[in-house]
Symmetry: C2
Subunit: 292 residues, 2 copies
């Protein structure tokens, strides 16, 4: 019998759970709405108890999280605005109930790991994964390992140039107004143009502006992390027509400053959609379980 | 006899060379102007030949550099605008002449390593070092190792918000106009205000604007790298009165989003001058030599 792992993609609206022995070998799955920690984690634990034995569990989790292994609250969800979930010891709770090794990381770090293991970044040691949807988040693999640092990255909140004459919308981030997330997340597109993003035609000026903001963020990411590849996922990036515009603008903004053939000659393979599609987060949990 | 190392701080105007067995045990030093590779590297090699035996040499070098150990041009200065130095195989050249192990990295990565080893970031595994002077550059240590990625960071060229009404100066970067370096490097201050930065009094509005740009860059660095500490060095940062303004603005811009006591309660110890002062680059070369 092959080794079986449990994976939890823990989000603010639902928890997706899988049992798998590999990315192509999904044995069971379940989905539970995110209500209270007691109810949701209770359902998750019951699901896994029905599928023992398992080698380990991985949790790709919404945040913010305490990822410092020397901390007393390691593996806790910390100051989340999600009602009822503040200071939830999700890792220890599941570990105690199932008596299994449990690994936890941010959803975006987990997705970055999965893209490195099975997706668009196989064989790379330095890459960045962004999700651009209801919010904007980014995870990074550096020298082959996920980056945590002091807390963990919150890449959606990097600064961007904002030309208020060209785009008078003040930005939608409750903390920073016109940070990356405030200028480019899905809800901002809806509010700026007064209609749902997915109803805007491909030739609507919304998309050129959206691509401009994303490409400016790419300039910063390339000049800071110097990644070998950047993956752009999430609901907004399902508008695949954005990719060529983002690539072209990124090259224009960099203006040949970074003299790498990987960027200058192969931009189509440098800024890419997730190789794992919408499964990046779920398979991130599996990648975490395998590393536990 | 203790182990003796050679260090080269290779800059665009001069090469500083040292012989040392540790940061507090400097045995010899020399300085050569950066003229042609033949002349300057010739002088460097002659200096070290006079001080053999040495265990290894470290080069903290201006860039851009090829830092990919699998590349045929590993250790070369690549597309530098510094006349005569393009495609200079500085690492292999010195290695061949001296028949010693030679390690090379960017001047800012080397300074970040030295600050981690002996300076303001001792005991940390994730920190960022900036130099803000004639240009702006940044190096990062992540999970205890310097970050290279595809090429190496060029952090001075990250994007920043630029309010053209408050600051009509278009920015001084020949590639990106108003990137971080274009808005905040020393020569920009001179041009924006029409007098040398060091002659501007502490209550001149130049410094509040300068601190604003640097604090915006801090927001991006904290939200991307999540460093445990940030060191700000270089000529501009010798204006120590900038530090409290930068710290206060960084807290204001983050707006309590990153809930870390290290940032919220200890900002004076979070954004700091180099513990090694102006020796960070030179001791970076020594740190590289010790790692060779």
């Amino acid at each position: 019998m092959t080794s079986r792992y449990g994976g939890i993609e823990a989000g603010g609206t639902k928890f997706n759970c899988i049992i798998a022995s590999g990315p192509e070998d999904l044995l069971a799955e379940a989905r539970f709405p995110t209500t209270t920690p007691e109810e949701t984690i209770g359902q998750v634990v019951a699901f896994f108890k029905d599928h023992l034995p398992l080698v380990a569990i991985g949790i790709a989790c919404f945040g913010p999280l305490d990822l410092n292994p020397n901390s007393q609250t390691f593996g806790n969800i910390t100051s989340t605005p999600k009602a009822g979930w503040e200071d939830t010891p999700i890792k220890n709770w599941i570990q105690r109930e199932l008596d299994l090794p449990v690994a936890i990381d941010t959803d975006v770090n987990a997705a970055a790991m999965a893209e490195g293991k099975w997706g668009a970044c196989q064989g790379l040691e330095n890459h960045v994964y962004f999700t651009i949807g209801t919010g904007v988040g980014g995870g990074a693999v550096v020298n082959g390992k996920p980056l945590h640092g002091l807390v963990h990255p919150e890449m959606g909140h990097m600064v961007l140039p904002h030309d208020l004459q060209a785009d008078p919308f003040p930005g939608g981030c409750p903390f920073h107004k016109d940070c990356f997330e405030g200028l480019a997340a899905g809800p901002t597109i809806n509010q700026r143009w007064g209609q749902p993003a997915e109803t805007l035609p491909q030739d609507h000026p919304a998309w050129d502006l959206e691509a401009t903001y994303i490409a400016k963020a790419m300039q910063t990411i390339i000049c800071t992390f110097s990644p070998q590849r950047i993956v752009l996922g999430g609901g907004v990036m399902q508008q695949l027509h954005l990719f060529p515009i983002i690539r072209q603008k990124t090259l224009a903004f960099l203006n040949q400053y970074v003299q790498s053939p990987t960027i200058l000659n192969q931009i189509d393979h440098y800024i890419v959609p997730p190789g794992l599609g919408s499964r990046a987060g779920m398979l991130g949990a599996l990648a975490l379980a395998e590393s536990a």
